[in-house]
């Protein structure tokens, strides 16, 4: 093998190992900077979407409003008809308050669970690059959760 060809091969190998290092460094740098913040934004966006869906603030503000505007029209006529319309509006408000309270409770629980899940996802994100090593250590340790 000529001297030049050996030099070429050593340069080629150096380039490959340099690219490998750059590749791993690039991946890890992205993972702990942009990747993590992207994931955090995704978690927040999902939370925002859920909060918008349940619209807690609006539910509280409209808690005793007419449900779906049932009975909103003005009623003219004798007192009994007006009383009937008033009763209808009261029932609409009560139904609205009950439905809104149930949704409010479901919404608060869902948002809290989603926030907890988001914190878990972001914590796991940091641990993912170490998982192969952790997996190897656990394998060597021979520990299996439901057999201890």
């Amino acid at each position: 093998m000529s001297c030049e060809s050996v030099r070429f091969r050593s340069g080629f190998l150096e380039e490959i190992s340099y690219n490998k290092v750059m590749f791993i460094v690039g991946l890890l740098r992205w993972w702990y900077t942009i990747g993590w913040s992207q994931r955090a934004r995704m978690v927040l966006a999902r939370l925002d979407k859920t909060m918008d869906f349940f619209s807690i603030g609006l539910l509280l503000r409209t808690m005793f409003s007419l449900f779906r505007q049932d009975g909103a029209g003005s009623v003219d006529g004798p007192l009994s008809i007006k009383f009937q319309a008033f009763l209808g509006r009261v029932i609409s408000r009560v139904i609205g308050a009950v439905v809104r309270t149930v949704v409010l409770l479901v919404g608060v629980v869902t948002i809290a669970l989603q926030a907890l899940l988001g914190v878990l996802v972001l914590s796991l994100w940091a641990a993912v690059p170490a998982m192969p090593v952790v997996g190897f250590v656990f394998m060597v340790g021979g520990w299996v959760p439901w057999q201890s």
Binding site: E15, Y18, N19, M22, F23, V25, G26, L27, W30, W31, I34, G35, Q38, A45, D48, K49, D52, F53, F54, S55, I56, L58, L59, T62, S65, F67, R68, Q69, D70, A72, G96, V99, R100, V103, V128, P129, M131, P132, V133, V134, G135, F136, F138, M139, G141, G142, W143, V144, P145, W146, Q147
Partner: protein, 236 residues
């Protein structure tokens, strides 16, 4: 004209090369590998075999590549404080470049890029046309980079994409105005085409933004509007 440097060993160039390798099939295979390893690992743990931990751990490697691809490599952004061509150039072009690439080789890459194809379909600036007008002198590539940077700054394009480089290739042709006139075009039309492409890319990016619609509480504070819902869109 200032000569811009091009570093094909930069971190962004390495990322562009990685992105080129990560085709749809590769990404699908990596996703499948991650899922199989994770499921296989959990299954082994379920039957009491500790090797399952290693499989679950190894699943992280392909999963990380897939996340990296979707998070950065798929649409590699320009470096904010970059000062060389490799910091601004679109990944598909950057990955195809060799040291001392000729304008002709550049034209081939532009023709295959998404923005290049956009310019080909809308303005007739096809890969063949660019190949015919591009020189084979590698020294002229530096002038193309300078022109492309000017055009990128003029159009405020976030990247030096195929459309920008196509316009620079045309501008390098001595009688480019005459050439464009034969196609019933002016140079400003090409610049407008680049802005059009950027606008479409911007619209595509905006689709991912979360829209606040007011949720179910707003719906319940209104009356039933089935007919309106069928034909209208709520703008509030």
């Amino acid at each position: 004209m200032a000569v811009l440097s091009l570093n094909l060993s930069s971190e962004r160039s390495a990322k562009a090369n990685t992105a080129k390798f990560m085709t749809t099939t590769v990404v699908m295979l990596l996703t499948l590998a991650a899922a199989m390893l994770a499921l296989g690992g959990v299954a082994l743990l379920f039957v009491g075999v500790a090797v399952g931990w290693l499989l679950v751990g190894l699943a992280a490697i392909p999963a990380m590549f897939v996340e990296w691809y979707h998070g950065e490599l798929k649409s590699l952004p320009a470096e904010v404080h970059g000062q060389s061509v490799d910091a601004w150039l679109e990944a598909s072009l950057l990955a195809g470049l060799k040291s001392n690439s000729t304008p002709k080789e550049l034209a081939t890459l532009v023709g295959a890029s998404q923005a290049g194809q956009f310019m080909a379909i809308r303005f007739g600036l096809t890969a063949n046309l660019l190949l015919n007008i591009a020189s084979e002198d590698a020294k002229q590539t530096d002038d193309i980079w300078s022109d492309a940077r000017d055009i990128q700054q003029q159009t405020k394009s976030p990247l030096m994409h195929g459309g920008v480089v196509a316009a620079a290739l045309i501008r390098q042709f001595p009688n480019y105005e005459g050439l464009l006139a034969q196609m019933h075009l002016e140079y400003q039309d090409v610049v407008a085409g680049i802005k059009w492409y950027d606008h479409i890319q911007d619209l595509v990016g905006q689709q991912n933004k979360v829209r606040r619609t007011g949720g179910i509480a707003r719906d319940w504070s209104f009356g039933y509007t089935p007919l309106l819902k069928r034909f209208g869109v709520n703008l509030s």
